[in-house]
Symmetry: C2
Subunit: 440 residues, 2 copies
């Protein structure tokens, strides 16, 4: 993409209304714009990150065997009356009346609807296990939306729903998502720690929140230092091997880790003092095992191998891509701006032409722009006639992993400068070596 033809409205001033760094940086970098309280537009740069984050989530859901579909944002209130949650849910649910005075709502989550879909089609244990997910906009009418997309009212959520014939296989479904989440967050450069968590309005007894430690976190969390050094399972993990999944989950749940609501002082005191990490945390994922909480009242029954009908065992599994982006920035930035982890950067490379109009600069830039794109790299090419300081500041602010700087002297000598955004390392190299260097 040529910057001269892109829409990247960088703000020079730091917006006063933004209380946390991710909100400030997303506004300054032209990623988002507030349309009303808790309602955001994703400007082109932000939309690209949203797509990249969603892609990683999707790849790991698919790898684990979950199947993508898409439910509507608007739901009928009748479904929620069946589960008993319509009255329970409170004012966070956006309730709507249509022209025929029928009660609708903007879905805050989809347990009821997916249970309804399941019961319409599935009758036999032979069609299980099943895990269906979608990535769709949700709405929760927060009394005080704040922190930008970290706590907005309309937000994107990936929610998956598992269906199994009994407790044991549904626990395996839970483990499968647990492991998929470890991989998902690691691919985004995040250290997410699974912590025993309260189940709130979703229900059930078993639940983990995946938490990133950050000073701007919304709640206090407690965990063993060991988590900081644990590595997520690799690509080769076998999602059909229940025992292997249980082992991984066991490893990741043995050291102490709990959110404030689930904090257990006695267990905490048993952790050696030097190993205790008490910090603030941001929730980036939340998984629930709630068994038959919805299938019983909504009569989602399947016939087992013994011919008997049983309510299906369920779990649900959420990640919010929009809030996740804010969390990534909280975890990865410096005083100059955002530092995108490789897998979710809006562009892979920022190509800076220091002197557009200079014949040699233009030739080198056009060549690199074409070569890098042909090699599958997403390139943002700054072809604008602006000051050097503004060019560098913009590139640092938007945080692309690699910058390639083409100045007239270097171009004449057939050389460019390469800068890594994360550590600031710089090197000068021949134009012909750039492609090899970046694919290394």
């Amino acid at each position: 993409m040529r910057l001269s033809r892109y829409f990247l409205p960088i703000l020079k001033e730091t917006p006063k209304e933004a209380e946390i760094v991710s909100h400030r940086l997303m506004l300054r970098a032209g990623m988002i714009r507030q349309q009303a309280a808790g309602l955001y537009s994703w400007l082109p740069l932000g939309k690209r990150v949203l797509d990249k984050v969603s892609r990683v989530i999707r790849e790991e859901q698919d790898r684990s065997g979950a199947i993508e579909m898409l439910m509507p944002t608007i739901q009928s209130a009748d479904l929620w009356r069946e589960s008993g949650r319509y009255d329970d849910y409170g004012k966070e649910m956006l309730r709507i009346e249509d022209r025929h005075e029928r009660d609708l709502l903007f879905g805050p989550t989809n347990e009821e609807m997916i249970t309804d879909i399941f019961r319409s089609y599935v009758r036999s244990y032979k069609d299980l296990p099943l895990n269906l997910y979608h990535i769709q906009w949700k709405f929760r009418d927060e009394v005080r939306p704040r922190f930008g997309v970290m706590r907005s009212r309309e937000f994107l959520m990936k929610d998956a729903y598992s269906f199994d014939i009994d407790y044991e296989s549904s626990k395996t479904a839970y483990d499968r998502m647990f492991v998929a989440y470890l991989r998902t967050f690691e691919r985004m450069g995040l250290k997410a720690i699974p912590m025993r968590a309260d189940t709130g309005p979703i229900g059930g007894k078993l639940s983990h929140e995946f938490i990133i430690l950050a000073s701007t976190g919304e709640s206090e969390v407690f965990c063993h230092r060991d988590y900081l050094d644990m590595a997520a399972p690799g690509e080769g993990v076998d999602f059909t091997d229940a025992a292997a999944l249980a082992d991984i989950v066991n490893t990741w749940t043995t050291p102490y880790a709990a959110t404030e609501e689930m904090h257990d002082e006695a267990a905490w005191n048993a952790v050696p003092e030097g190993e205790r990490v008490a910090a603030r945390g941001i929730e980036v994922g939340h998984i629930f095992h709630f068994g038959t909480k919805y299938s019983e009242p909504m009569k989602a029954y399947v016939t087992g191998p013994d011919g008997k009908d049983v309510p299906v065992f369920m779990g649900s599994y959420g990640i919010g891509p929009s809030r996740l982006i804010a969390a990534i920035i909280e975890a990865s930035h410096d005083e100059n701006g955002i530092i995108w982890p490789k897998g979710v950067a809006p562009f892979d490379v920022g190509l800076i032409n220091m002197k557009p109009g200079d014949a040699e600069c233009d030739v080198v830039c056009e060549r690199l722009y074409a070569e890098l794109q042909a090699a599958g790299q997403d390139v943002l090419y700054d072809d604008q006639d602006t000051r050097a300081g503004a060019k560098f500041a913009t590139m640092d602010l938007i945080g692309l992993p690699v910058q390639i700087i083409v100045g007239p002297r270097g171009a004449k000598a057939g050389e460019v400068e390469l800068k890594l955004r994360a550590g600031g390392e710089r090197e000068t190299l021949p134009v012909g070596d750039v492609l090899r260097r970046l694919s290394a």
Copy 2:
């Protein structure tokens, strides 16, 4: 994807509520499920088509220079009061009150919001032309939703908005989208005819609907027979060449073509009788040039090269991917089911194992499944132990372009059968030739 692990709830009965063939076939093929009046879930097969259709639209929008972003579904009523449309829009607008009793609405279109975004950031003619688009769910509270996703209440829409300094360049922006639309529909195997159309609640004087002829169309349309033989511009079209774009638009608007509202009896009678096509049509796209209708009341001004501030000239350009899928099916099906055009099929190939468990069938199928996927083909592998008749009926119903049938006798001889869904042609060929045959 292995069918045994997929969620493809085929209906054996033809659903009684479905009045048109696309609705019937989408329900039977397990693509969609109605959740409430005019609200549909997209089941996994349907979601795949939605993604493929959206991808084609996105590629052609990007090619034309439009830039993708994403606006929220929920909008503030205040914006619509600024333009004067809040009261005009009528009962089709889903009006919502939040917990603080602020007036919101589920966006039926985004002229106001995009104008608001534009005026917040853009001040100078130097940042023009600009075309921003998004693909987002919209809601129109139809008094009588029907025909499945053809006329649903919640529906997906790609809407693009162009901004230009004067009438002439905004007409070029209009031409650019006009040409992008011709290409988009052609890539989906559709013959879409641009017809002068009424502008309705969007406003402006210049507008075209892109119409597919189909007996189940919602309205009567009139056009010259010449349109049926015209070919859309190729990949090489230069979207920066205003004169070339105007030429194409001229060619495509010279023969008579009009919707019922814009029909002109005198002009129609001037068309030689043998050249007249009066038929029913389905609208698949609608483009509008409305100049300063929104920029004036909403004060979206830019400074021109002469230093004077002028209201920006705008147009908007819509395609509904969800309704488009129904239209494609109306145009492409037979008595056995859907016939997907290549670019939008949910899978490229259906691989049918006639006898799972037979060692030779399994080996051949696993080999082809791996090879085809490695070659970038999306494969649905029917590995289920079901009757031959059911297997064939399902594959024909879901309409994948190519079927590869692996039976025990053929597998032993190293041969498979290849069937093209569209024409029903069959050929037997060696296993080793399949890949070459499909990439030919």
